[in-house]
Amino acid sequence: MIRIDIEKKLKAYGGRQVLKIAAEFPAGSITKIYGPSGAGKTTFLKIIAGLVTPEKGKITVNDMTWLDTNAGISLSTQKRKTGFVFQNYALFPNMNARQHLEYGTTDKAWTQQLLALGKLETLSGHKPEHLSGGQQQRLAILRALSIKPGLLLMDEPFSALDQEMRSELIRELQKLWKETGMTVLIVTHNPHELDEIADQELFIEGR
């Protein structure tokens, strides 16, 4: 079980707003996070990953405290080891597809399995600049999975995929998530997207 109760001031158009979220995510669940642009969806994911620090808050994951601003506890991003799919993919221009996965894991069989999952086996030697938008997005998802995270944070991860590829990939990912018991938080800008796979949803209003 992941318990989050945080408060973070955000710079917003026309002044400041406060991102205030208290939520629980059962282990192994898939949660859809949606809300208007600028509400703080990406910031929320980054706070969980330890990339952004909130002014106030507490995050516990399976009874382990990742963040407690009152007690001065803040686990580093490296120790939290969440899988993170960035909205802009954040792929490394100097690495090819296989090297991206090998950067996260030394398990060759797992690397091969991931390449097959993302249908990138034949493109494993290609660098991001030689991949299409959809292929880059798939690689970003695979890289996040390479560390076999307990918690996967995905920021609009399917936006560049065509309908067929998206459905097929989600089906395969669902299987993997079930097998591994991974907890997944997916940010989407479309409130009706991912209804078929999400166990619960979180609306971030932004005020």
Binding site: T77, F86, L91, I147
Partner: protein, 223 residues
């Protein structure tokens, strides 16, 4: 023709470039991360040699490292080191004088990389050092190369600062630029011409290599 000033110049430029590369990479990385008053002051100090007359820098280095005063006296008494009128003095002056040519392009290149690259690396469990070596550095390779070559080229052309701290001792501190000046002073235009031609050729090859390594795109020294 005495070729020792040419060899000495190349040796000085090579050593200066290596020292600045080793010291400049971590320093540029530190400067590229966030802002603070201390960083602003250090950055200003690094950039000052670009606008200060070289003779001013040379004069104060001469005073500071003179074996009769302050740090120079301490270095001489404690470690038997003498920077004035010696090759190590030339290296020290060159490192200070060429520092902006190494630091500024690398810092600028690091700042232009999306912050999400480092963040992605951290989420994969990598620390700052691993991230710098495996992700950031390979993606600013062209800028590092440009910085190294420009530092080398700039050191080749130093005159005022090396004359002030090193003087004109043949085989020790008499670099090519000083040899040109000295030859003209002695009305030996033939030697001055030869030293100058060699310097022009080396500098031309060095600068052309910057453009070749950067795939024919011209880059400003401070880019």
């Amino acid at each position: 023709m005495d070729l020792s000033p040419i060899w000495l110049t190349l040796k000085l430029a090579g050593i200066t470039t290596v020292i600045l590369l080793l010291a400049g990479l971590p320093l540029a990385y530190w400067l590229s991360k966030g802002r603070s008053i201390i960083k602003t002051i250090i950055e200003a100090l690094i950039t000052m040699p670009l606008v200060l007359p070289p003779s001013v820098l040379g004069f104060y280095l001469l005073l500071a490292f003179s074996p009769q005063h302050g740090p120079g006296k301490w270095l001489h008494d404690t470690f038997d080191l003498q920077f004035v009128f010696s090759f190590p003095g030339l290296v020290l002056a060159s490192v200070i004088y060429s520092m902006p040519f190494m630091i500024t392009p690398i810092k600028s290149a690091l700042q232009q990389l999306p912050v999400s690259l480092a963040q992605a690396s951290y989420t994969l469990g990598k620390n700052e050092r691993q991230t710098f070596i495996r992700v950031l550095l390979p993606n600013i390779r062209a800028s590092v190369l440009t910085a190294a070559i420009l530092t080398f080229a700039h050191t080749l052309g130093e005159f005022g600062v090396v004359l002030m701290i090193g003087g004109n001792i043949p085989g020790v501190t008499r670099v090519a630029s000083i040899a040109v000046y000295d030859s003209v002073e002695n009305m030996d235009y033939s030697s001055a011409n030869l030293y100058s031609l060699v310097l022009i050729c080396i500098t031309f090859v060095t600068v052309v290599s910057v453009f070749i390594f950067n795939k024919y795109k011209a880059k400003s020294p401070l880019e």
